[in-house]
Each structure stands twice: as structure tokens, then as C-alpha cells.
């Protein structure tokens, strides 16, 4: 099936109007950029609902849209775990318990919190690894978008790379974090309206929800599972062998829910930065909770298309077939191929614009997070401290330019050395997995020491590497997927299962070593220094005069109820 599209003047007009709006927002915000705080922290002036939508939009990058549809095709409805147990507990934890420390401590970034709470080396380790990671993340997504445009539209790879990078560069350079955040809200609306027709047409085509269910029964049987395996999220997790994801309920709950989910949503500065830019403590706490509500509906937008694609592939007379890559389907093509199948001129332009919008919201998130960490945690801390605020504003702006140029370099690296990128992502997974243990202990146990945190992180990273080196997903021969320590002591049914368990081991190792080293070393921070950073030493927030519907606690309860209802519905 040929998936090269022919675009008409209307499709191009839609794209150009969109570009004009994102640049226009940057231009309008330019005059407010007077200090480093305005540029790098959005002046802490963003309303809660804007921060909340930006909070999830920055995560809804092109790789997420394409990848989650691919997961939907590969694992079926079990993919919703990434949106419920893998997201909602983390968001509630962040809004209710952790945000008071981030926002109240006046730390300007996640690494800076680590410095205030622990010590310089813990911050340095986190800041440098985070900075390198964001650059590569934005490079990889740039590469993915340019590849897609090359395949779909026949656009020149260099051209799409440059045009998308330059647009993001201009609007972030002009309006900093505010521009990124406001644009993320606009991009979020566009992503929804651009993909919604795809879901509607796909469902009509396949005979509605019941038709999808029936078609997926065939798919499940063809893959050697029970009929309903693709239409339940928890029911078949009693044993890892009975579901397409190859994980049991314990692996999902601990690996994805506790470590990966909370670890991402509570401590990844990319998303936390959006909440820290909110205009008050109450707004900052509500940010992740407001974001959680649309988050729970995104599966309809990105997972269902993937499920439709695989169902159609197994239907003999559908005339639709996912392309084959190696010995399995090329699941990443699900969204692009459905766009080509269903969208005529007009909405086609809108759908492609939505894809570009998702790319830009993800990339701008990386760029702004990199700016702040580089300027405050690396440049101001180690290279050139004690300069004027104007100086750091300038550095922040120049960092935008340098950051984008370096990520373009990373995009070309991804084009030419595919394995190097896989390897780097793996290394970062090792660094990130244990971090959540450090934060939990740091925020809720005042005895945790700087040495404890640092050595805990190092051993957690090592534990992740060793576990990954000794295990392998079944049927994989590549070293990059594990087993590179020579002997394989355990085979997991899928890569996903291996990831979840790597996270569990890393978390446990970091937790235990941090506790062990902390009790044997002296706490160098006084109680005064830790006030506002640790639960026991921080006065509870009293929110007088806040109407009940603006209370983060009430909002958290509402989010929890919706999440439980969905979990039962999709059981």
C-alpha cells in the first residue's frame, strides 16, 4: 500500500495558518520578557488551567502519539495502563504531596531542589544527565518527524528538519517558557481536533465499539490468546503469558505504576516545570490534577486508532494492511497509514498539522526545560556565578539557540547511527529509574543525607544496568535489548515486561542503599535548612478563602473517582 499523500493548496494553507499563529503568540509575549525569571520560569504567572493543559500537552509529543498508537496495535487495550495506573497516581502524588516542596522551596528547577535538600554532587549528577537527555530526546523526535514527512509527503529530510526546528526556535527565543506553555495549549486543542475525525471514521468503518470488539477477537485468537485479550486492561494479567503485553498485574502495578509512572510525572522537570510556572501555590498544586482529567480521555484519541489498525489488518476484506518490518508488523505506521486511508483533502491538512503540533509541543518542552537547567544549574552554578539578572536572561536566550542547534546534530546522529540512539535511551532509563526513590526519601524522611542520596542513585543506576544485562526479552538477539553481560539468567515474555522489572530493581536498590548510607553518615543539613523541603519540617498549607471546587484535595478525589470508574469499565 502506497502511503505518499498528495497535498492540495487547502492542506498547505491550514499548515501555514497554524505556523503563523504559533509564531504570533511568541511575538506577542516578547515584550514581557524582562528578566531571567520571565524567560525561564514564565514569571510564575500562568493560570492553573493553562499550566494544566500544557502539563499534559508537552508529554503528548509526536513520539507519544505515534508510539501509543503502535502500542495500541501491539498490546490492545492494555496500553491504557500508561494513562491510568502509569499516570494518575503520579499526578495526584505530585499535586497533593510533592508540589508544596517544589513550589514552596523557591527552587527554580528539580535539580535545584536536590541541591537544597541534599548536596551539590547530587544536583550536579541530576542536572548534567537531565540536560544531555533532553537534548537527545528533542533530537530523536525531530528525526522522527522529518522521517515521517519524508515518507508521507516526499518532503526533503533536511527541509522538514530545519523548518520545524526553526519555528520552535523562534517562538521559544521570543517568549521563553511562557511562549512554550501558551503554544502547548493551542497545540493541545489542535491535536484533539485533528485526530478526533480519524477515530470517528475508523469506528464507523469497523462497525462501532462492538465491531471493534468482534474484530479484535479474531486478532487475539490469531496471536494465540483468549478471544478477549485485546479488549481488557486487567482481566488477563493473572499470568504474564495470557496477555499480549507479557506482564502480570504485579509488574504493571509496581513497575509501571509505582516506579515508572510516579518517577516520570513527579520528578521529570519537563512536566514539573509547567506546574512550577503557575501563578500561585494553589494553582501549582492544581496543575497536574487539572491535566489529569483530559489525560484520561487521550486513550480514545491515540490508542483506539492503533487498535483499529490491527483489527483491520486481520480482517480479510478490509483492504488495509499494516506493513511488515522484520518478523512483525511495523506498528509505528498505524497513525500515518490511517491518516492516508480515511482523510480526504482538507482534514488531511488538519491531521498533518495536528501531527506537527504534537511534535512542536514535545520539542518546545525539551528546549525550555534544557534552558532552565543549563542556565541555572550548570552555567550559574559552575561556570559563571554572581552575574546580573540581565546577563542570565541573555544566557537563557542564547541557550535556546545553542540547544536547538545541538538537537539538530542529535537528529542527524539518530539518522546515521540508529543503535547509538537506542543505547543512549537505555542509559537514561537506567539513570531515571531509581530517582523516584531519592525523592520519596528526600521529601518524607528528614534523616536522608546527601551521601545517602548520591550513592543510592549510583547503585540504583548500576542495579538497572546489571538487571538489564542479565535478562532478555524472548526471541531477541540484539545486545541492546539486554543480555550483554554474557549470561542470561531470565527471559521475559516481552520487552515491556523487562522494562517494568528493570525499574522495580533499580528503585529497590536505590531505596535500600540510600537508607543504609544515610543512617551511617551524618546529616549535614540543619532543621532550619530543611524547613520547606521535608514533610515533617514543613507547616501544612491552609488554604483559607479558596472555594471548595478550587481545593486540590477535592479535585484529587474527583480525578481518583473518574480513574477508578474507567478502570472498572475497561477491566
Amino acid at each position: 500500500m502506497d502511503i505518499t499523500f498528495n497535498l492540495s493548496w487547502l492542506d498547505y494553507t491550514i499548515m501555514i495558518v497554524y505556523f503563523a499563529f504559533v509564531l504570533g503568540i511568541g511575538w506577542v509575549l516578547k515584550k514581557y520578557m524582562r528578566s531571567a525569571t520571565d524567560f525561564l520560569e514564565a514569571g510564575r504567572s500562568i493560570p492553573a488551567w493553562v499550566a494544566g493543559l500544557a502539563f499534559i500537552a508537552t508529554n503528548l509529543g509526536a513520539l507519544e502519539v505515534i508510539g501509543m498508537a503502535a502500542n495500541g496495535a501491539k498490546y490492545g487495550l492494555m496500553t491504557v495502563h500508561f494513562y491510568f495506573i502509569g499516570a494518575i497516581p503520579g499526578m495526584i502524588l505530585l499535586g497533593i504531596f510533592m508540589m508544596p516542596f517544589y513550589y514552596g522551596s523557591k527552587a527554580r528547577s528539580v535539580p535545584e531542589y536536590l541541591k537544597l535538600r541534599f548536596d551539590e554532587k547530587t544536583r550536579g549528577f541530576n542536572a548534567i544527565s537531565f540536560a544531555v537527555m533532553t537534548i537527545f530526546a528533542s533530537g530523536i523526535s525531530m528525526y522522527a518527524l522529518a522521517m515521517l514527512m519524508e515518507v508521507l509527503l516526499g518532503w526533503n529530510f533536511n527541509f522538514s528538519l530545519m523548518i520545524s526546528a526553526i519555528i520552535v526556535l523562534i517562538y521559544v527565543y521570543m517568549g521563553g517558557l511562557s511562549s512554550a506553555i501558551y503554544n502547548e495549549v493551542l497545540q493541545f486543542f489542535l491535536i484533539v481536533i485533528g485526530f478526533a475525525p480519524l477515530v470517528v471514521l475508523g469506528l464507523i468503518n469497523i462497525g462501532g465499539w462492538d465491531g471493534l470488539k468482534e474484530a479484535l477477537n479474531t486478532t487475539a485468537v490469531a496471536n494465540g490468546f483468549e478471544e478477549s485479550a485485546y479488549m481488557h486492561s486487567w482481566q488477563n494479567t493473572g499470568s504474564p503469558d495470557s496477555n499480549p503485553m507479557g506482564v502480570g498485574w504485579f509488574g504493571v502495578a509496581m513497575g509501571l505504576g509505582l516506579v515508572l509512572g510516579c518517577g516520570y510525572w513527579c520528578i521529570n522537570f519537563l512536566v514539573v516545570q509547567r506546574a512550577m510556572a503557575a501563578n500561585s501555590m494553589s494553582a501549582a498544586r492544581r496543575t497536574p490534577l487539572i491535566g489529569a482529567i483530559p489525560k484520561m480521555f487521550i486513550p480514545y484519541l491515540v490508542i483506539i486508532p492503533g487498535m483499529i489498525a490491527i483489527a483491520l489488518t486481520y480482517m480479510p476484506d478490509s483492504g488495509f494492511q499494516l506493513p511488515v518490518k522484520g518478523d512483525s508488523f511495523d506498528y509505528d505506521k498505524a497513525i500515518p497509514m490511517l491518516l492516508g486511508k480515511y482523510f480526504p483533502t482538507g482534514v488531511l491538512g488538519l491531521g498533518l498539522t495536528a501531527l506537527m503540533a504534537s511534535f512542536m509541543s514535545g520539542m518546545a518542552g525539551n528546549v525550555t526545560a534544557f534552558n532552565t537547567v543549563w542556565t541555572y544549574d550548570i552555567y550559574q552554578s559552575y561556570i559563571n556565578p554572581d552575574k546580573s539578572d540581565k546577563h542570565y536572561l541573555r544566557v537563557g536566550q542564547l541557550t535556546t539557540v545553542v540547544g536547538v542547534i545541538v538537537s539538530i546534530g542529535a537528529a542527524y546522529m539518530a539518522r546515521f547511527f540508529n543503535n547509538i540512539m537506542d543505547f543512549l535511551q537505555l542509559v537514561f532509563a537506567f539513570i531515571n529509574a531509581p530517582l523516584f526513590a531519592t525523592f520519596v526519601l528526600g521529601m518524607f524522611w528528614k534523616r536522608a543525607t546527601g551521601h545517602g542520596a548520591f550513592y543510592g542513585l549510583v547503585s540504583g543506576t548500576l542495579a538497572a544496568a546489571i538487571h538489564h544485562g542479565l535478562t532478555s526479552p524472548e526471541g531477541s538477539h540484539m545486545l541492546i535489548k539486554g543480555g550483554w553481560l554474557g549470561t542470561v539468567v531470565h527471559y521475559y515474555p516481552s520487552e515491556m515486561a523487562q522494562n517494568f522489572w528493570t525499574a522495580v530493581y533499580a528503585f529497590t536498590a536505590c531505596f535500600m542503599i540510600t537508607v543504609l548510607v544515610s543512617v551511617t553518615t551524618k546529616q549535614l543539613k540543619t532543621n532550619e535548612q530543611l524547613t520547606g523541603l521535608v514533610w515533617a519540617l514543613t507547616p501544612r498549607i491552609k488554604e483559607d478563602g479558596v472555594p471548595w471546587f478550587r481545593s486540590p484535595e477535592i479535585l484529587a478525589v474527583i480525578v481518583g473517582i473518574i480513574a477508578i470508574a474507567f478502570t472498572i469499565y475497561w477491566w
Binding site: I14, F21, G24, Y32, A42, S178, L190, I204, F343, V347
Partner: protein, 73 residues
Amino acid sequence: MGLDIKIPIGLLFTILGVLLTIYGLTTIGDIELYSRSMNININLWTGLTMVVIGIILLATAKYRRDTVEKKES
């Protein structure tokens, strides 16, 4: 910061919605164009939805501005 993001989003949705609606109207009955979208004039429907969302956003933004002005005066 003096930007109500509802205004640009409302404008963008209205402009794109009008474009799609007009195109949808001029292509009513174009069987070849809409065979892939299951004979549904998806441009018209998406366009109309976008116009409605756009106008709602613009109206709420205007309402908010008016009430703020009233409070100030």
C-alpha cells in the same frame, strides 16, 4: 501576563473551521473525494465543529474581559 490564550485558539479554530466548511460545502456530492471517508463529508462536519468551538472560546474570552472591565470601573 496579558495574554488570554482563548483568543488566539478561538481565532485559529474559527479561521480553519470556516476554510474547511466552505471547502466542504463546495464539495458536497463529490463521491470520489469522500469515498475514503465512508461517504461522509468529513470536511463540512469537522469545519462546523471547529467554528462552534472557536466561537465559544472567543465568546468566553470577551465575557471575561467585560466582567473584569466592569469590576475595575
